[in-house]
Symmetry: D2
Subunit: 153 residues, 4 copies
């Protein structure tokens, strides 16, 4: 499935913006193995995107109220080491490319210096009825000099 789509991705592409948040693993996010269930990380990625947008002065809630919906059309996650209950983690979200109708982000989840999980998403910009529409002019990430560009959560 992934072949063609990922082959052409310039992996060395510079992010346009990076934003970091802190996440603490909740008890019911962990499974009987005692580690965070693999389906939870995409929820945290979404929080990373939301806070990156907020740091840029925007709000996903306001976007939806204005009829702009961002739907995940592709997700990829590489799990290197498990996060555990009550861990305090640092999620770095990078905005890679806001194209005309699609937006790409990459994610790195760290516990201290240890890289636990890497991810990547592609969002499509949809209208209220689910049809693709251009990404609005509203910036989706902090620009230089704004608070969110700092990597500090």
């Amino acid at each position: 499935m992934a072949g063609a789509a990922t082959r052409n991705r310039p992996e060395t592409r510079e992010p346009i913006a990076v934003h970091a948040i802190e996440v603490r693993a909740r008890y019911p996010e962990c499974d009987p193995m005692g580690v965070v269930h693999h389906s939870v990380y995409p929820v945290w990625f979404e929080m990373g995107r939301t806070e990156m947008l907020r740091a840029a002065g925007g709000s996903y809630r306001d976007l939806e109220a204005a009829g702009v919906f961002l739907a995940v059309v592709h997700l990829e996650v590489r799990y290197r080491r498990p996060a555990r209950y009550d861990d305090v983690l640092r999620l770095e979200t990078s905005l890679l490319s806001p194209g005309p109708v699609k937006i790409e982000h990459a994610y790195r989840l760290l516990r201290g210096d240890e890289l636990l999980v890497e991810g990547r998403t592609t969002l499509a910009c949809l209208d209220r009825s689910g049809r693709a529409q251009p990404v609005p002019g509203t910036s989706l990430a902090p620009t230089a000099g704004q608070p969110g560009t700092s990597l500090a959560p």
Copy 2:
């Protein structure tokens, strides 16, 4: 991130086994857009794997009791169309390759004839302390002639 890993995947590889289950979308699995949240599909993929194993006469609960843990190390999902609340869906799980320490599955989620979501996972086989161990001899999927090989849920 994905580049090197996916480049060598023979996408035309024949599945060793295919198993199908029926899933109905629950209310809290849906988000304010009225569609199934993208983090839910990996939970359904896991159910597909579990039921494929059960159809082969195995049980993931028994595997864990015997000290065999299967951890997702890579996940990829392509979202084509949204599933909606109360939809009855068909999830087809294919076992692609049980390697010496890793196991690959592919997934197709359909509503009637409509393909909604495709996915792929790689599992690593771990012992109780989280170290890689060989995939046990226990078959992980139905073999020809067993009920689970049928595509009917």
Copy 3:
């Protein structure tokens, strides 16, 4: 908090209808204690209500499409014994009283003959803007002679 509200409940009240479904505990519904997390049972209760309505020929999805929203305004759960991963459970849902604007249900979750969890909910009937409205004439449960009245899942 509960005092006044629960004091007047006739606990011996006969249910108007009873409907049963089968539920299998999913892996991410279980927590590091290896048991189903206590926040999951209300999700199953909702499934019990939904299937009771379906057995009566109704559909909660259709109700919402018609502008009828049923919101939980009170929940009570008594946890007696834990459900475990992969357990197949039987959830019995009883419709207690469809009042003019509120509906009460009671729940019993069993593993074989063993009673694990009991619950009770009160729903309010709301319109699209969140204001209380009368419970519609649509029956919310199977009536005598319909399939759903059987306790068999």
Copy 4:
């Protein structure tokens, strides 16, 4: 179900300690009605208990490592007004009574001055095999003069 148990609760009982945290409603915590699903609040209550314990210098993770498990045996929630996506909420957790084997907490969730949800839980203290054991001497809440006694998150 609730009758006898709640009838004798002294509702005017003074809390031993109160602790507050801030919670922001996540997108997948909200359902197609656009509000936080009713099964999510118990997850937040658990976070309130965990942070109250941490403010007192304890750690639930450490308790489990020491063989002390706190299981919810009773839950009650009264939903007054819905929380919505991206709302920043204040959860006040009160420790009511740490009995010999059971612990009671009460919860109030507010958006500004508006009371949205009230809750109450009873926890049992269990050993690793699920048998009741006395609540350990470890204090479960901040004592006067410690940071956590402040209501500020």
